[in-house]
């Protein structure tokens, strides 16, 4: 247990320090959101209607961008081999790493959401709804993305391959995240239905992600 806590602490520290690059995700999120009005026009009514979708897409791409670093740095300096060989179950270690990554790279996205909501003319309820759905949904993005990150590191290929593999798997999260935000803003559906499915997706990926990532690390590294 203390090994896992130490792993989480270490990963968060590395991510937040110079060279960690977790906060670049927030900057990317901001830039993508700022780009959107240039593409669809500065009409505030339209922007507030598209707002939840824009924020969700931005968060999806930002979390994908930072995923590349989940295993690569550890693989380069050899600490990944130590983690694989250690007595702590690899599944738990993977889950701990993903949790640390989510705290360092996913949580800042949610904290940035209210400010970006202002830019997109979202009112209080809408911003709160998007932030809540992101809070429930981004763990699913991190934990399914971790599978892609583990595959990419065993193949020594990152970047585009990772995106191509992970993006189709994140479609359900996107659908229910945007649907829950829209339900909170305009109805007619109750917010609870899509939101609880979103939570269920996160919980399921919490189980599947570490096992698949650990399997691919165990079989792939040599």
């Amino acid at each position: 247990m203390s090994a896992l806590a130490a792993l989480i602490r270490r990963d968060i520290r590395i991510a937040l320090r110079v060279g960690g690059g977790a906060l670049i995700g927030v900057l990317f999120f901001l830039t993508v959101t700022v780009l959107m009005p240039f593409a669809v026009g500065p009409d505030l009514a339209l922007l507030s209607r598209l707002g939840p979708a824009i924020l969700w897409l931005g968060a999806l791409l930002a979390s994908l961008l930072t995923l590349d670093r989940l295993f690569t740095a550890d693989h380069e300096d050899g600490s990944l081999d130590l983690i694989v060989m250690s007595r702590t179950p690899l599944e738990l270690a993977c889950a701990a790493k993903a949790l640390a990554h989510w705290i360092a790279a996913g949580l800042p996205l949610i904290i940035a959401t209210p400010i970006l909501g202002l830019l997109l003319n979202l009112d209080g309820t809408a911003t709160l709804a998007v932030a809540a759905t992101l809070l429930a949904g981004t763990p699913a993005l991190t934990f399914t993305g971790m599978i892609g990150a583990a595959l990419a590191v065993t193949l020594h290929r990152g970047g585009l391959l990772l995106a191509v593999l992970v993006l189709p798997l994140s479609i359900p999260v996107l659908i229910f995240g945007v649907a829950a935000s829209q339900a909170a803003i305009s109805g007619p559906l109750p917010f609870g239905t899509p939101f609880s499915i979103l939570c269920a997706l996160s919980l399921a990926s919490l189980v599947i992600g570490p096992f698949a990532a650990a399997a691919s690390l165990r079989h792939g590294l040599d």
Partner: protein, 261 residues
């Protein structure tokens, strides 16, 4: 017991090659005959009272759509074979199946949109079924990209096996969420294809075509597996040759150095 014995027997690629060399011509022949019968029956089938002659697209479309999902199932079994039983032919089977599955999925999409043009008035509709098949197609392409990203086949095989199994868990979830998304956006605006029960005049050609296409998959799959085995043999021979050349030149350079000293 006999099944496991046969599977263990087939673990020897040479035995597999010999067996498939005997089976393949027969399989190809039966497939061709069944396809001919199925196509003839489809052409002779009566027009639908609503859809007219376009109903005949169904005889191609439905087998392709059914195989697009079946092939992922075959790959999932092969992925288990790679990860759990380490069967030497499992990753060959998985690799050979991916492009064939992608082709069936692509054909299902194309025939579907050709049918949609006269029926719905548009080539593409963000209908739940179409959308989930499109996502399945994207996943096939991603899997093929993964196979092509790495030179070492056994390394690529284990990665692809993990991705195939994750996909097998995820495909039903994606299907469910796309259904949900579609009903939220546009309730009941889309014509349903097999709304009523099929008439016997349509059922028979469809059955024959489904069997013919399944046999076509088996034929193509076995042929592709043979090609993959032979390709790997060529690759390992080339690598042996390359290492021999490298070793010879290294030894030659070393001999020269010793001679110079």
């Amino acid at each position: 017991m006999t099944l496991t014995a046969t599977l263990t027997d087939l673990a020897n690629p040479t035995r597999f090659l010999a067996l498939t060399a005997r089976i393949l011509p027969w399989l190809a022949g039966v497939t061709a005959i069944l396809l001919a019968i199925g196509l003839y029956q489809s052409a002779m089938a009566p027009d639908d009272y609503q859809q007219g002659a376009t109903v005949k697209i169904m005889f191609i479309h439905v087998p392709n759509a059914w195989l697009s999902m079946f092939v992922w199932g075959v790959m999932s079994v092969a992925a288990l074979g790679t990860l759990v039983w380490r069967h030497p032919l499992a990753d060959v089977a998985a690799k050979a199946a991916a492009p064939i599955g992608a082709a069936f999925t692509f054909l299902a999409l194309v025939t579907g949109s050709l049918w949609g043009r006269p029926m719905w008035g548009t080539y593409w509709e963000w209908d739940a079924r179409l959308t989930s098949v499109l996502i399945l197609f994207l996943m096939y392409l991603g899997l093929m990209a993964l196979w092509r990203a790495v030179e070492d086949p056994s390394r690529a095989a284990r990665a692809a096996a993990v991705l195939t199994l994750v996909g097998a868990i995820n495909i039903p979830i994606i299907k469910f969420s796309v259904d949900w998304w579609n009903t939220l956006h546009q309730p009941a605006s889309v014509l349903r294809m097999g709304g009523s029960t099929l008439d016997k005049a349509f059922l028979w050609p469809l059955l024959v075509m489904a069997i013919a296409f399944s046999l076509l998959f088996v034929t193509l799959h076995l042929a592709a597996m043979r090609n993959e085995i032979l390709r790997r043999r060529v690759r390992s021979l080339q690598m042996m040759q390359a290492s021999r050349v490298a070793f010879a030149s290294e030894a030659g350079a070393g001999a020269k150095e010793i001679g110079a000293a």
